[in-house]
Symmetry: C2
Subunit: 277 residues, 2 copies
C-alpha cells in the first residue's frame, strides 16, 4: 500500500461487516480513485473502538488524506467513538433511518439487531436454512433421486455449467431446497429426461453455458481430454438445449452471470419466495 496516493477506506461494524463492505465497495466504485480497503468486523467494545479510532487518526496524520469510513454499528456508544475519529464517516444504516423518521412520524426504537445474527426469534427459520443446505448437499449432482418431492427446484445441465454453486447459493442465501442433476457424455446418444424427474416437470430448471467457456472451465480440471474438448462441449450443450426446448423446461445461459445473479434470476422466473437471513 502506498499511503501517499491510495485513499484508505474502512468498513467497520460491531457485526460481520458484510453489508458495510458490499455497499461501501459499490459506493467507491462510482469514483475514479485508487483505494486501500480495511475491513474491521466485531468492533464491540469501547477499548477496541478506541484502538480503531487511533488507527484511523494515525493514517490521516501519516498520509494527509482523510480516511473514508463506512460504518454499520448498532451500539450508540461504540458508534460515537468512531464518529469522533478524523475519518470521513458515513453510517450506512443511520443515513437511511433519519429521513424515514420524518416520513413515518416515528422515533426509531433501535434494538440491538444483528443483521446476520441469530436470535430466539429467528432460530427456527435458521434451522430451516441449515436443513436446506443439508438437503441440497444430499441431492447434489444426482447423488439421490429420492425425496425430490421435497425439492423446491431441480437444476439440470451438463457437467461444470454451474449447477452445484447455484444450488448451494440458493440454499445458503435463501433457504431453498435445491436438487441438481447432471447430463453426462454417455447420455448424449439418446438424450431423454430421466423417468424419475418427469413427475417434477414444474420444478425443473435448466442451466446452459457457451461451449467455449465450458471447454475453458473443463480444461482446468482435465486438460487435453475428450471431456474438455470444444467439440464435446458443443455436442453436449447442443443436445441439452434441444432437450430443454422439446420438454419445455425453462432455462438460463449462465456464461455471463455470477452465482448471485443466476440464483436470483431462478427465484424470479420460478416465483419462489426469497427468505432473508
Amino acid at each position: 500500500m502506498d499511503v501517499n496516493t491510495e485513499r484508505s477506506v474502512f468498513y467497520i461494524s460491531d457485526g460481520t461487516a458484510i453489508t458495510a463492505e458490499v455497499l461501501g465497495h459499490a459506493v467507491m466504485s462510482q469514483f475514479p480513485v485508487a483505494t486501500h480497503g480495511v475491513t474491521l468486523p466485531f468492533v464491540e467494545t469501547v477499548q477496541r473502538a478506541q484502538a480503531v479510532k487511533a488507527q484511523i487518526n494515525a493514517l490521516y496524520q501519516q498520509s494527509g488524506l482523510r480516511p473514508l469510513v463506512f460504518i454499520s454499528i448498532v451500539t450508540p456508544v461504540i458508534r460515537d467513538i468512531i464518529l469522533q475519529s478524523d475519518g470521513f464517516c458515513q453510517d450506512i444504516v443511520q443515513s437511511l433511518v433519519g429521513p424515514l423518521q420524518q416520513e413515518l412520524g416515528l422515533l426509531p426504537a433501535p434494538v440491538a439487531n444483528r443483521t446476520h445474527g441469530l436470535t430466539a426469534g429467528n432460530l427456527s427459520k435458521y434451522d430451516a436454512r441449515i436443513a436446506a443446505i443439508d438437503y441440497t448437499l444430499a441431492h447434489d449432482d444426482g447423488i439421490s433421486l429420492r425425496g425430490l418431492e421435497d425439492a423446491q427446484v431441480i437444476l439440470l445441465g451438463v457437467s461444470r455449467c454451474g449447477k452445484t454453486p447455484t444450488s448451494l447459493y440458493l440454499a445458503m442465501q435463501f433457504g431453498i431446497r435445491a436438487a441438481n442433476y447432471p447430463f453426462i457424455a454417455d447420455d448424449m446418444d439418446n438424450l431423454k429426461l430421466p423417468a424419475a424427474l418427469k413427475p417434477f416437470q414444474h420444478k425443473l430448471f435448466g442451466l446452459t453455458i457457451e461451449p467455449e467457456r465450458l471447454a475453458a472451465i473443463r480444461q482446468e480440471r482435465a486438460e487435453n481430454t475428450r471431456y474438455a474438448s470444444l467439440r464435446q462441449c458443443r455436442l453436449e450443450v447442443g443436445e441439452v438445449e434441444a432437450l430443454f426446448r422439446t420438454q419445455q423446461i425453462r432455462y438460463l445461459n449462465s456464461t455471463n452471470y455470477s452465482v448471485e445473479e443466476i440464483a436470483t434470476k431462478i427465484l424470479d422466473i420460478m416465483s419462489l419466495t426469497r427468505r432473508m437471513y
Copy 2:
C-alpha cells in the same frame, strides 16, 4: 397482507436486489411498524420500471399509506422512473455517493457496475471462488485428507456442530478453501489429533457447541438414538474441547452465532484475507 395496517416496503434493483433487501431490512428493523416486503430484482427496462412505478402508485391509492422504497439502481433512466413514483424512495448507494462527492472533490463517474456481477475484470477472481467451492466440497466431512496443504483453514468438531455450512459459506462468500474433519463417537475412547492433520496445526480451527443445542439438532435427524442423547453429546463436546485445549487449537462456540458470524470470526481470528465477490 392487510393493506390498511401494514406498511408496504419495496426493495428494487436492476441487479440481484440482495444488498437493497439486506440493508432495507436493517433500516426497517429500527422502527416499530408492521411491514409487508416486496423484492423486485432485475428491473432493467423502461417498460418494467414503469410497471413497478404503477404498482407502487396503485398501492398508495389503495392504502393511503406511502409505500417505502429502497432502491439500488445503476442506470439513471431506470432510477428516475422509480424516483418519480408516489413511494418514499431512498437510493441506498446514491445517498452515500452525494456526501462523498464533496469530500473527494470529484464527480462520480458511474460505470454500470453490478455489485454481484461478472465482468472481464473479475473473471479470474470468480474462477478462484468456484475453485474454492469445489475444494471445500471435496474436503467436506473428512472425505479426503489429501491436498490439505492447499487448505486455508481446516475446521474440526463433533458431528452437527456447524462445520459444513461454515466451510461452504467461507468458500462461497470469501473464496476461502476450507476443509473440515469430524470427530465421531468411535474416536472418543482415546481422542487424538489424526496424524494427517498434525503438519497443518496452524490451519486448524475448532468449533464447539452447547450439548443441549447439539442434542436438539441431532434429535431432528435421529430421534431417540444414542447419537442424539444429551449424555452422548456432553461426552463428545467435553472430549473434543479438552483436545482443543491440550493441542492449543483455537476454537469458537457456535451455539449463538449464525453461519455469517462464525465464518467472519474465523477469518478475523486467523487473519485470513476476506475477498469480495
